[in-house]
């Protein structure tokens, strides 16, 4: 976070770094301490794909260690080896200096390793409390589950995280952020010696992130080792003491964070300097492209009205669960709304009809790429082409050559990393999957683009690419509605910022007047800024 509430965090980061310098595990030497957990020169291939070629990492008690790398660098694969999900093809796995073989996730849990996976792994039909304690529920006499204690313990965990989720509700329908929080609670509940967090903050907004960091500090104080993966460098500086960087499946560097600069890290990750933001020539916004009037879906959002003009980027900001995604879904026609109207390009859209929205030139990049964005078994090529099939056919038949060149064209433009266009998209890393979803919608050349958390799980350099891309699209006259939980992103990209709280629009700022403090205040309800 560059400014605004990030200031406080930056101060914290500085403090952390000092801690780290003084702490026992800090520094490159670490004075011969034995790492609680270590992977030494491990490798892992999936068929012909070499996900990790030479990876090494060491975790020490009482230390938060960052693992950085571009999308597809092999971070999650390292995590899955730590978790016992994958067995390394080569190299050594050490616990307290002893080589071990984990037969499966159960072995990792028994060894005191807790994992927060990049993609939430919840049981949608079970209650939140059961999700947290599955297989480890507190028992009473006769080995029966003590569900009261189960709920109470879950409540306590949520209190620790400072969130309000009903442990008794089933987890189907939880927003991505709430799912992520449940995952965090699950990992905490294990009281593990090692906690691995694969992009835990990707779906969280500043408030939750701050709480999570408090928790991580408490864990460290208790002597636990934390592995923290994030594409937000400011978070890494705020919470971690040391860092390992990977590139293309290989270990690049391991070092204490003190004295390192963001630019150095980026260089290590991408092997070059971070792309500068190219300020697009700002044009005055054109005619109104998207008009949302008094949109209401009972119990979810109420009376939401706004406009997006051609060439304008409007950000929808707010806390997680404020109902932003729900508005976007209703606009695109995924959900019904109870009252109000949506028009695009002057034409009123039919309710609950994505086809009508698409015909009016709307494109929609949803927040959950695995569930909503991608057909996992289909190839990269087929996913990119999925929304544009009508333009790729001749005499009713899909032209294979047109589809291929269309897909490779867009994959190149967004620098998607893939083996073959015909590989299933499930083989791609998270960030590259996100790019495929973007490519799918940009390929339709929409006049209105709704992007929900467009950079969730995207690495720093690509994120900058995406921001530049959004700028350029706006400069080309596209109207863009962007939902983002990342304040720096909102402040950097948006021409106008709308803030939602509890299903209502509570504030609107122009780029000039938007500040992180004001946006947070409106999002949390400390002030009711007047709408423009």
């Amino acid at each position: 976070m560059s400014d605004g509430p990030g200031e406080g965090r930056a101060a914290g980061a500085a403090g952390e770094a000092e801690d780290a310098g003084a702490g026992p595990g800090a520094g490159g030497a670490r004075d011969g301490a034995i790492p609680v957990l270590a992977l030494e020169h491990v490798s892992k291939s999936f068929g012909a794909v070499r996900a990790v070629i030479d990876g090494s990492i060491e975790l020490f008690g009482g230390e938060a260690h960052a693992l950085l790398g571009e999308n597809g660098a092999g971070k999650s694969t390292m995590v899955k080896m730590l978790a016992g999900v994958h067995q390394p093809d080569g190299g050594r796995f050490l616990i307290n200096g002893e080589p071990v073989v984990l037969g499966g996730p159960a072995d990792a849990i028994d060894a005191g390793i807790a994992i927060i996976y990049q993609e939430p792994t919840l049981f949608p039909d079970l209650s939140v409390a059961e999700n947290i304690f599955m297989g480890r529920q507190p028992l009473r006499s006769g080995r029966r589950i003590d569900s009261k204690r189960c709920i109470a313990a879950a409540d306590a965990l949520f209190a620790q995280l400072g969130v309000r989720i009903d442990p008794g509700r089933i987890s189907r329908g939880l927003s991505i952020a709430d799912q992520q929080l449940v995952e965090i609670a699950k990992a905490l509940s294990l009281n593990a010696r090692v906690i691995v967090m694969d992009e835990p903050t990707a779906a969280l907004s500043a408030v939750e992130v701050a709480r999570l960091f408090d928790v991580i500090r408490a864990l460290r104080a208790d002597g636990a080792a934390v592995l923290f993966i994030s594409h937000r460098l400011e978070e890494v500086f705020a919470i971690c003491q040391s860092v390992t960087v990977m590139r293309d499946g290989r270990h690049v560097l391991t070092a204490p964070l003190t004295g390192m600069s963001a630019a150095e890290l980026v260089r290590a990750m991408v092997g070059r300097d971070m792309p500068e933001r190219i300020p697009g020539e700002k044009r005055a916004p054109g005619e109104v492209r998207l008009k949302v009037e008094r949109l209401t879906r009972e119990g979810v959002f109420t009376d939401v009205s706004f406009e997006v003009r051609a060439g304008e980027i409007v950000a929808l900001s707010g806390l997680v669960g404020a109902g932003r995604s729900e508005v976007a879904r209703a606009v695109f026609g995924i959900d019904r709304y109870d009252a109000g109207a949506v028009s695009a390009g002057g034409r009123r859209l039919r309710k609950a009809s994505p086809t009508s929205a698409m015909a009016a030139g709307i494109g929609f990049v949803p927040e959950d790429r695995r569930q909503q964005g991608l057909v996992m078994e289909m190839s990269v090529q087929q996913n990119v082409a999925l929304a544009s099939l009508s333009t790729l056919r001749k005499a009713g038949l899909i032209r294979a050559s047109a589809e291929r060149s269309f897909a490779s064209d867009w994959a190149v433009r967004l620098s998607v990393k893939y083996g073959q266009l015909t590989d299933p998209v499930s083989m791609l890393s998270g960030g590259n999957q996100q790019k495929v979803v973007l490519a799918k919608w940009l390929g339709r050349q929409p006049s209105i683009l709704i992007v929900d958390e467009p950079t969730r799980g995207i690495d720093v350099s690509t994120k900058a690419d995406v921001h530049n891309l959004l700028d350029r699209l706006a400069a080309d006259g596209i109207a863009i509605l962007m939902i983002s939980s990342e304040l720096p992103e909102v402040l950097r990209v948006a021409d106008r910022v709308l803030v939602m709280r509890e299903g209502r629009l509570t504030a609107a700022f122009s780029q000039a007047e938007a500040s992180a403090e004001d946006i947070m205040a409106a999002a949390t309800g400390q002030v009711e800024a007047q709408a423009q």
């Binding site: 996976y117 049981f123 039909d125 079970l126 008794g168 189907r172």
Partner: protein, 349 residues
Amino acid sequence: MTATLAPAREPGSPAPASSRRLAERVFRIREFGIVAVLIVFVAVTAGIQPRFLSSTNVQFVLVDATIYALLALGETLVVITRNVDLSVGSVLGISAFLSARLASQAHGLPLPVVFLAGLGIGLGFGVVNGLMVTLGRVPSLVVTLATLYIIRGIDVLVVGGTQVVPSSYYPSFLSMSKATLAGVPDLAIAVAVLVALGWYALRTFRSGRELYAVGSNPDAARLAGIPTGRRVLFAFAISGAIAGVAGVLWASRYGTVDSTAGTSYELQVVAAVVVGGVAIFGGSGSVVGAAIGALLLQTINSALYVLGVSPNWDQAIAGFLLILAIAGDRFILVRLTASLRRRSARRGA
């Protein structure tokens, strides 16, 4: 497609406890819905033909329903894990024949031994199904569709065109399905106790909850360290064993057993499970619901016979009522979810 409630989080909700109680109440209504349909149906039928509630008829219906309820109990375990067992009808058939032959040739044999034989036969087939599904990684619908044919084929070879007839059993074998306790068939009581036990076990033991977890998200279950293969194998083994026991009851109930016993029961059982509110894609539902579903379907069948509905019409009506029951259950659920959403909206406002 899974019919589950996802109450929206209430912005500024008073306390989690109250919404929890609300959710719990709704979940309880979930089974009440099926019970309500059953009660209405029985009331209407008895209104037209009061003898529908005569003690003999109630006994008959209960005994017929117990066989389906028992099969539904086993099937529910399998369906909860996101699998399906289509071989139950064939397993019932072969177990019915072999146990009937045992009961007619070895007259000194105590009844429990006959039951153990049926249970053992079913368990064997259930384990084979389960191993193929878990170790072979083949979808259960394919495996059990194949074993549906194969076990029936084995049955046919074993039976060889003969039949076992009531005259050949020792008397207690036939009379066991007719015994009653205070007017309620012993079998119905036994099965009700089994269902209650199953319900309790699925709620209160870790392995029971893990069955739901496996069905709700198999990958997540594996990551949570749950031995998914073992749980699924267990469900299939129990389903098979139960089908084996049901075969013994079938033989006792209907007396005449040839190679066709239990043909096409599998679809009836799956229907009962779905009507009982068990999600066909796993993860939710209860054995009580499934048992009531079985009772409802049997009651519909029997009512049509007792009402003397033209035999030309009864099948169409039974099919129509089956769809109505599934749709009605779904309708109630959707309405409840919507009203819950509205209510939370009003409270939040």
